[in-house]
Symmetry: C2
Subunit: 216 residues, 2 copies
DNA sequence: ATGATACGATACCTTGAGTATCGCAAGTGC
DNA sequence: GCACTTGCGATACTCAAGGTATCGTATCAT
């Protein structure tokens, strides 16, 4: 009847239980083994292509050890993404902000084409049927990255490369919407040429000097 | 041992069995009842929120009657979308092609915000784990609509509203990528203002007279 | 009427997420 | 040392849902 001392119920953030002082401590090794196995399996076969039992097996861990840390399968995958993905898509440090933006778009392409692309696709798919996951994905994955974009756009404005009347939210959608579109729908490959043209079109519309629709 | 005379195996297109001349004919009523029930249920509760048994119950039909026509749940939903969606998002007939494009974007917004938006989200989500469904979705939903976009863009070029050096595929991604992005990720609402700004930015980059990036 | 197929209903199979429990391991406090 | 508490791997289990099989009946062509 009594629930196990520490079970993760309904929490989507990383397993952040209050560290109890008594009893056997959590195994740090198990944590990383689970996340590692999850990352490998999901990126290889996709979210629906694997089972929690497979994760447990590959991590050499009991299934309960997983559910003691995360409330469900999606939460594990989410944390696998957040914990193991380093600064692959950080904005490169170059003097010109607009160039940093352009280079970051290329990093984003590389990221989407890597095995991590499957993680994004999987989570986004699952998020369509779980408002809870959708919320977590927006807050923990999308939002921080969008803040980074706005940040660099503001620098570009300050450096006079982009018009000051820019709508930052819209601009972010214009830049990354087409990338996610191709990632999810697959109408065309996400190529270097594609992202170059994307950037180019964006700058035509936003750089200083182009005021807007010309008179006709 | 012998399989039922006519069962739908692996076919994703609409139930298009060769009309056998003998035996009891397929009930046309059942077809529409199933599609109708599917549409109503999925748009209300989402793909994962309903079961095939519920569809059968609401359509007052045996479950086998469904699986005799479609190979799986996703295929039913796909056909429900394609069969019951009329020309809601056709390009309005107005003299200026660029205006037709603008008006169609507004129709698209209305469509995404209607109950059909849930169908698109659902199918796209499921398609992430089924290359077969992804293919069907691209060919039967995305592609025809993209052809319509390219068509109207060509008219706009012919009418001198858009530069002739436009990349049609890229342009389509630029226009609809951000819409799908918001539909699926939900970073912001899909408003009239949003789509107006989207169109405006697009035209700044593509209308005749703006040649490209200015010198710096 | 006969033969073939579709029908609704129901029981069934299978897979996989999530739970419960058992005996053992690894810590803390005395 | 010893009791106490919690985590561990393993295993068995529950349950929901997609998909299949079958039964008796209904509806067509000939």
């Amino acid at each position: 009847m009594k629930p196990p001392p520490t079970v993760c119920k309904g929490k989507w953030g990383m397993r952040e239980m209050v560290a109890t002082k008594i009893g056997r401590p959590r195994s740090e090794k198990a944590d990383t083994a689970i996340l590692r196995a999850t990352l490998d399996l999901v990126s290889a076969k996709g979210y629906r292509g694997i089972t929690v039992d497979q994760i447990a097996a590959q991590a050499k861990v009991g299934k309960m050890t997983i559910y003691r840390r995360w409330p469900n399968k999606a939460a594990v995958v989410m944390d696998a993404l957040l914990e193991l993905v380093g600064p692959e898509t950080d904005f490169p440090s170059v003097p010109e902000a607009s160039q940093s933006l352009r280079l970051q778009l290329h990093l984003q392409v590389k990221f989407f084409k890597s095995k991590y692309g499957m993680l994004i696709r999987s989570l986004l798919a699952e998020a369509q049927s779980s408002e809870e996951l959708a919320e977590a994905f927006r807050e923990r994955w999308i939002r921080p990255r969008r803040l980074g974009v706005v940040d660099i756009l503001k620098k570009a404005v300050a450096q006079g490369q982009i018009r000051p009347d820019i709508d930052f939210e819209l601009a972010t959608d214009l830049l990354y919407g087409p990338l996610y579109y191709r990632l999810l729908i697959g109408t065309g490959p996400i190529t270097t040429k594609f992202v170059d043209s994307l950037y180019q079109q964006f700058m035509v519309g936003h750089q200083s000097g182009n005021i807007g629709l010309r008179d006709r």
